[in-house]
Each structure stands twice: as structure tokens, then as C-alpha cells.
């Protein structure tokens, strides 16, 4: 590397180099005057006061939640969907570091970052949803409710968020120029990956296990003793599909950041992930059918809920599985990306079905989220996107840091 690269910025230049992208504060602020930044600013300008209102006046004033419907879209979208879509972190890390599928190496970092931010903002949604959010650390440090499934969920989310952060630290240290710390963290890669797989398997399924307690409230078409398995398998598909969507968008939006090495073939990565996602989705479809048969609830299929259930398992599981297989076979990458987006939507719909739409299905009127709930959810998602962009624009996420890059031998 050149002498310039070897020189770390002085402490005085840290803000300019690392935060303001080498620009003066005024130039940096001017660079933010774009239409997308205006949209983000508008959402945050409306959303942050809504969140303040929720904490100032409580859940009763800000939401349509009640004693009979204590979980709404903050749990359905921010928590359950966010955690499922973050599963790409452990899926891709395991594929690369444990199975040795080096082809996927270029997408490990974005997948881990997506996973970490997914968990971080899922916890943000959870904080909004909890009646006493300041008690969040209690099950971790103070009172172990070892007979509660929530105990397992809390510990797994806490531990896996920590693991994801540690997996992300080599990127952070490259950005900061801390070579020794980076080397130390890289030595932990295999251990962290194994821990990530174990913890994800445990808690993706334990999120589903939460609903085992809700048998009387959950519509029989969605209730099944297999629901922990459903959550885990669908999270694997959601993670892979989210990585396909995220990598396609990142390479379009952050064109100047993408890996300059020509051997990085995103199309090939997309086809490989789609093939795996299609096969898992196909198996997942039959597991869902098995659960339906086992529950003996098929007599409810010719109802409105039955039609919605069929739409979910046919439209969001079987059809994408077939399209994934066809697209992977024929190499239609654009079709695969659209299918990935559709599958991501399908997983969100599934989590909403289980936690909101099919929950308390006998109640009338059924829960509908308040405007503040919807704005808060949009704000949390926007904050996640802005944070992702902020990090990608500064740290070596979509490409290897030139000083540490390992190019193929000539």
C-alpha cells in the first residue's frame, strides 16, 4: 500500500476523514441535500415525536393495544419479522466459514451487518412495545425466569446481538485502522460463527414457541405444535432472500463502494442462494401441510381465514419455491431478485398472521394498528436503512479494505 494508506489520520482529522467523508461539515451537509435524504428526514421528523409521545403518555394513549390484544405490529413487524429477516447473518456466515462455500464470501459482511442492524432495531421496536422498557435487562442480570419461554428469547436475542456485533468488529477495526484488534477478532471467526448458528437455531424457534402458549387465541389454521420449526425454517429462507434483495440494492445504490475485484460475481451468488432458498421453501411447504393435517383444522379451509391461509402457503411459499427453482435453472437473475422480494414479503405476512391477523380471531372488532404505531414502525425501519447507509458509506462492508484485501493469485 502507499505511504498515504499506511498513515492513520491525526486525531484532529478523525471527524473529517471518518465521519464527514473527507469533506468539511458544510460540504458534507450540502451532500445530504438529496430527494431520498429529504424523505428520510421527513419520516424521522414525524416519527421521533410519535415515539416521544408513546413514552410520555404510555401505550394506552399511543396504541390500539389492549389487555386482550397486547401484541400489535411492533411485535409482528419490528420484532418477529426483523429477527427473521436478520437470519441471513448466520446463514451466510455458516455457509462461508463452516461449509467453506467461498463463493459467498463477498456477501458475508453485508449479511452480518444486516443481521446486526435487524436485531438492533428489533430491540428498538421491543422497547416501544414493552410497558416497562427499563426492565429489559432484568431477565438478563437480575431475575432469571427459567420456566418462561420469554427467558430463552431474551437471552438468545441478547447473546446473538452480542455475537453479531463481535462478528462485525473486524470491519469496524479496519475502518478505525486498529490492525492488532482486527487480527485478534479474526481468530474468533469460527467460534463466533458456531455460536451464531446455535443461538439462532435456538431463538428463531423459541420465538415460534411463544405461540404454543396461545393455542386458544390463535386461529387453528396457524396454530400448530410445529410452529417453532416453522419459524426456524422460514427464517432461513427469509435470511437468504433478504441477502439477495439487500445485495442487489446495495450494488445498485452504493455502486462506488462495491468490491472492485472482477472475480466477485453477484449473479452467481444470487443464483446459488436462490437455489438453496427454493429447495428449503419447497420442504417448508410440505412441513406446513403436515402441520395442517396434524392439526385437523382443514375443515376451516372454506372460510375467509381459510382463503387467506391458502393464499399464504400457496402464494408466498409454493409459488416462490417453484419460481426460485425455475429462475436458478435458467439463470434469470432479475426474476430471482423479484422472487426474493416477494418471499421477504411472505415471511412478514406470516409473522403478522401469527401475531396479529389470526391472533384473537374471534374478537370483534379485531385489532387495527393506530397511526402512531404505523408511523413508529416506519420510523424504526427508516432508522435501520439510514444506519445501514451511514455505515456502508464509511466502512469496508461491500468491499475489502484495500490494505487487507486478498485478491486471487495471478
Amino acid at each position: 500500500m502507499t505511504d498515504f494508506a499506511a498513515n492513520e489520520p491525526s486525531r484532529a482529522g478523525f471527524l473529517r476523514d471518518k465521519i464527514f467523508l473527507g469533506l468539511s461539515p458544510r460540504q458534507y451537509l450540502r451532500s445530504l441535500l438529496t430527494p431520498w435524504d429529504a424523505v428520510y428526514a421527513l419520516v424521522l421528523a414525524i416519527g421521533i415525536p410519535c415515539i416521544v409521545y408513546r413514552f410520555a403518555y404510555g401505550l394506552g394513549a399511543a396504541t390500539n393495544l389492549s389487555q386482550t390484544t397486547p401484541w400489535g405490529i411492533w411485535i409482528g413487524i419490528d420484532m418477529l419479522s426483523g429477527i427473521a429477516l436478520a437470519a441471513g447473518g448466520f446463514t451466510i456466515a455458516a455457509a462461508v466459514y463452516l461449509l467453506g462455500l467461498e463463493k459467498y464470501h463477498p456477501i458475508v459482511r453485508p449479511a452480518i451487518l444486516t443481521g446486526f442492524l435487524g436485531y438492533l432495531f428489533a430491540v428498538a421496536g421491543l422497547l416501544c412495545d414493552l410497558g416497562s422498557p427499563w426492565r429489559l435487562p432484568v431477565p438478563i442480570f437480575y431475575s432469571w425466569g427459567t420456566r418462561s419461554i420469554m427467558f430463552e428469547v431474551a437471552w438468545c436475542v441478547f447473546l446473538y446481538s452480542t455475537v453479531l456485533f463481535l462478528e462485525f468488529t473486524p470491519t469496524l477495526f479496519e475502518w478505525l485502522g486498529w490492525s492488532r484488534a482486527r487480527r485478534a477478532m479474526l481468530k474468533l471467526t469460527i467460534g463466533l460463527t458456531v455460536a451464531g448458528v446455535v443461538l439462532s437455531t435456538l431463538h428463531q424457534s423459541s420465538l415460534g414457541a411463544l405461540f404454543l402458549m396461545a393455542e386458544p387465541r390463535l386461529h387453528p389454521l396457524w396454530y400448530s405444535s410445529y410452529i417453532p420449526l416453522y419459524f426456524f425454517v422460514s427464517a432461513v429462507v427469509a435470511g437468504m432472500s433478504m441477502v439477495i434483495v439487500e445485495s442487489a440494492l446495495s450494488h445498485r445504490i452504493f455502486g462506488s463502494q462495491k468490491d472492485p475485484r472482477p472475480h466477485v460475481n453477484l449473479d452467481e451468488v444470487t443464483i446459488g442462494l436462490s437455489r438453496a432458498a427454493g429447495i428449503v421453501l419447497f420442504a417448508y411447504f410440505f412441513v406446513r401441510l403436515q402441520g395442517l393435517v396434524d392439526s385437523g383444522a382443514w375443515h376451516l379451509l372454506p372460510t375467509k381465514y381459510g382463503a387467506w391461509y391458502l393464499f399464504e402457503i400457496l402464494g408466498f411459499i409454493l409459488v416462490p419455491a417453484l419460481v426460485y427453482a425455475h429462475g436458478a435453472r435458467t439463470g434469470k437473475v432479475r426474476l430471482l431478485r423479484v422472487t426474493a422480494g416477494w418471499t421477504v414479503l411472505g415471511v412478514v405476512v406470516n409473522r403478522l398472521n401469527v401475531s396479529v391477523i389470526a391472533m384473537n380471531w374471534t374478537l370483534s372488532p379485531h385489532y387495527l394498528p393506530s397511526v402512531i404505531e404505523m408511523i413508529t414502525t416506519l420510523t424504526i425501519i427508516t432508522a435501520g436503512v439510514v444506519t445501514f447507509r451511514w455505515i456502508v458509506n464509511r466502512m469496508p462492508v461491500l468491499h475489502e479494505h484495500p490494505r487487507y484485501a486478498v485478491a486471487p493469485q495471478v
Partner: protein, 225 residues
């Protein structure tokens, strides 16, 4: 037929299990078969490695195949690397912004002109243009001295140390050129590859060798513009 009759439920479960096994095998074969992304690409041709992989000390490359020689005084000398020259072939002219204009790293800095088409090249650094090599801009390649002596512009920047982190030097630069060469090999037809096994290069440049009608599109792919 009651959905809670255990015989019915068990029969349905077994049937479903058998159906899954029968359908999963053909589904697997269908999904994992077909054309792979690698196979969709043309047959690979290994081209002989050329001298272009020599990158002198002090020279850093941008992924868009522009080079920069950075000085400690905050001035950078910019040019296009040998790969870019061989890719586009002979040029009519190179259009560059006037002295005093600002170029931004990763943004178009100068334009290569050949026949009626033009291709932009990206700036390796951010800064203000303080000098232009008019001779090279008017008649690119007329002066046949070594590549890294054929500069196009000089840029003054207060943030060269930041820009340098996005550039490739020494071993990384050689490997980058090597992998670019590998990718180029994969795009060439076997016939064209054979022609060049004597170590020569196409008279009109590799991009034209790959696709005469769309050579500028091919060039943009490698020059990332």
C-alpha cells in the same frame, strides 16, 4: 370424514410424506440442474500475461483503471493504466475539464474519444485540476514512453491520504490487474484468443475484439463508468 379421526389423520400424514419424497427428488434435480452462471459465460481463453502487470512503486490504481502518483505535497498526477489503453485501443482524443475544475473520486474525470463514441473514466482522487498534459490529451499515445509517464492531469487535494485508502498499490494493484485480465479472458472468443497468443493485441483494442458494435459498453464495464 372427521378431521379428528386418527386413522384419517395418520393416512393423510403418510400420504403427504410419500408425496413429498416423490416430488422432492425431481424438484431437487430441476432446481440444481440447468445452466450455471459460470457456464453461461463464453468459453474461457487464457491470454498470455503481459508486462502490464508491472506497477511501479509510488503508483496506485483505481478500480476504474486510472492511476495516481501521490506526492506528499498534496498533489496527485493522474493517468490511465495500460489495461485501459489496450482495452479501448487507439483514441482520437481525450477530453478533460479545464484547469481549476474539480474532480471527485469515483466520478467521471475525463472522456476517451474514439470514432463517434465516447467512454468516461473515473477519477482516482478528489481535488482541483492544476495542470493538464495537452500533448497527451490531443494525441493520446503518440508519445510512446512508458505508461506511467503518460500523465493526463495533475490534481491538488487536501485529502489524498483519505482517497489513497480506496486505491490499490503494489501487490494488490498487480493482483487487481491480473484479475481484470482473467475477466477479460473469459469474455473473449476462443478465436480471438488464439490470434493473440503470439503476445500481440488487437489493433483496435480488446473491447472491439469482444463486441465491435458495442465496444463502448464493454469498455464501460471494465472502466466502471
Amino acid at each position: 370424514m372427521s378431521p379428528n379421526d386418527p386413522y384419517i389423520v395418520k393416512a393423510a400424514e403418510y400420504l403427504l410424506g410419500i408425496a413429498f419424497l416423490l416430488l422432492f427428488v425431481p424438484f431437487w434435480r430441476y432446481a440444481t440442474g440447468g445452466v450455471t452462471a459460470a457456464a453461461r459465460q463464453p468459453r474461457r481463453v487464457r491470454l498470455p500475461l503481459l508486462d502490464m502487470f508491472h506497477v511501479p512503486a509510488g503508483i496506485a490504481l483505481h478500480p476504474g483503471h486510472a492511476w495516481a502518483r501521490l506526492s506528499a505535497t498534496g498533489e496527485a498526477t493522474l493517468g490511465m493504466d495500460d489495461f485501459a489503453r489496450q482495452l479501448v485501443g487507439p483514441l482520437k482524443a481525450i477530453h478533460a475539464p479545464a484547469i481549476g475544475s474539480r474532480v471527485v473520486q469515483g466520478q467521471p474525470a475525463w472522456t476517451l474519444k474514439a470514432d463517434s463514441r465516447t467512454v468516461n473514466m473515473l477519477s482516482p482522487v478528489t481535488g482541483e485540476i492544476v495542470a493538464l498534459n495537452d500533448e497527451e490529451l490531443r494525441a493520446p499515445g503518440a508519445n510512446h514512453d512508458e505508461t506511467y509517464g503518460r500523465w493526463l492531469m495533475k490534481v491538488r487535494s487536501p485529502r489524498l491520504d483519505v482517497d489513497a485508502k480506496q486505491l490499490l498499490a503494489d501487490r494488490s494493484a498487480r493482483q487487481f490487474l491480473g484479475s481484470s485480465w482473467e475477466e477479460l479472458s473469459a469474455m473473449l472468443t476462443p478465436e480471438l484468443g488464439t490470434i493473440m497468443h503470439d503476445g500481440g493485441t488487437p489493433v483496435n483494442g480488446f473491447a472491439r475484439g469482444i463486441d465491435e458494435g458495442q465496444w463502448d459498453t464493454v469498455a464501460r464495464r471494465f472502466l466502471r463508468s
